[in-house]
């Protein structure tokens, strides 16, 4: 079974090498980094790690980058794809837990920050709860972490999932597709590392982006 890790990145030159290095230490060899129009040395750093590096010449958003990664994974005959954030906040240890559930027959396995006790900044926690309720009202699917970026999709799932939005809406859109295609899904607790670096980046999902995301989801629902 070929498991391909997709890492969408935008200006992560500082940490991308260590993220890839960590993944390799856990035995994941099939890694696709999608550089979403970074203007730092992200692509260069990733290429040095000897993984597939695809580059969007202009920034199109996390959703677009993940979709490009999935298209590439299909061409590389992946059986399972795992989406993994490029800022170092995900723990490669959690991938094994995702894959165990895939082996049990689930089509999609979602990592959740809220199924285990850990420190999550209050504003982020509130924002996520709001997003969960909003996603539920819009698509009728309840999960404890609708905005989690750590997810595993089997071939059955990524072959049928079709998303349209390019930006952060993709996380909720994926849930819509799970519901629409009656895919079997499961949530597992995941560990998240909120470092000074990962929380200080300006391009992260903030309140204003959250409002824009909701507006776009409403328009395209």
């Amino acid at each position: 079974m070929i498991t391909t890790i997709i890492i969408p990145v935008f200006n992560e030159a500082q940490v991308i090498s260590s993220v890839i290095h960590d993944l390799k230490q856990f035995g994941y060899k099939h890694i696709i980094v999608v550089d979403d129009g970074s203007f730092d040395r992200t692509s260069h750093q990733a290429k040095n790690e000897n993984v597939y590096v695809l580059r969007h010449e202009i920034n199109r958003g996390k959703g677009a980058a993940i979709k490009t990664g999935i298209e590439a994974a299909k061409q590389l005959y992946a059986d399972v794809v795992v989406t993994f954030d490029g800022d170092g906040q995900h723990d490669p240890k959690d991938i094994r837990k995702l894959l165990e559930k895939v082996d049990e027959g689930y089509d999609v396995v979602l990592g959740s920050r809220y199924l285990t006790k850990q420190h999550i900044p209050l504003l982020r926690r509130l924002g996520n709860n709001f997003a969960n309720v909003f996603t539920f009202l819009l698509y009728g699917i309840w999960v404890t972490d609708s905005q989690s970026g750590l997810r595993a999709y089997t071939k059955k799932a990524f072959d049928v999932i079709d998303t349209q939005n390019d930006r952060y809406e993709i996380e909720s859109e994926m849930l819509r597709e799970i519901k629409h295609h009656h895919l079997k899904y499961f949530e597992i607790p995941m560990h998240v590392r909120y470092t000074k670096y990962s929380t200080s980046k300006w391009n992260k999902q903030n309140a204003w982006n959250g409002i824009k995301t909701m507006f776009k989801l409403l328009l395209t629902s």
């Binding site: 695809l54 969007h56 010449e57 199109r60 677009a64 390019d166």
Partner: protein, 117 residues
């Protein structure tokens, strides 16, 4: 003599600045400043400034074109048209964004094809 209120002055001032800026940009031959765009802006903002300073113009239009008491209906229709235009433009932008992403994706995936060979 009728007195001019502050809001009339502010509106006329803002409209004047916009027309002035557009004129400068047009005569500097700045990129994307077509004659059509320049005239549209000048007519719209010029009219706003004119009606702000001389409200009698609105009354004159009402009488001349025979709108009578239906002037409010006309304004309502104008709003509806603006909303339709707004959503039409929104959907055009959406389509163009999707096309850009598709082109960018195709380019990015060329690399994977090369590496596979």
């Amino acid at each position: 003599m009728k007195t001019i209120t502050i809001y009339q002055i502010v509106l006329a001032f803002v409209a004047g600045i916009i027309v002035f800026q557009r004129t400068i940009r047009f005569f500097r031959r700045e990129h994307s400043q077509s004659l059509f765009k320049y005239l549209t802006f000048t007519i719209i903002w010029g009219s706003i400034a004119a009606v702000a300073l001389f409200p009698g113009i609105a009354h004159w239009i009402r009488i001349t074109f025979g709108f009578g008491d239906n002037f409010n209906t006309l304004i309502f229709i104008a709003f509806v048209i603006l909303f339709v235009l707004f959503f039409r433009i929104l959907s055009i932008i959406e389509r163009i964004e999707t096309q850009i992403t598709e082109i960018v994706r195709k380019e990015a995936l060329k690399d994977i094809k090369k590496k596979k060979k």
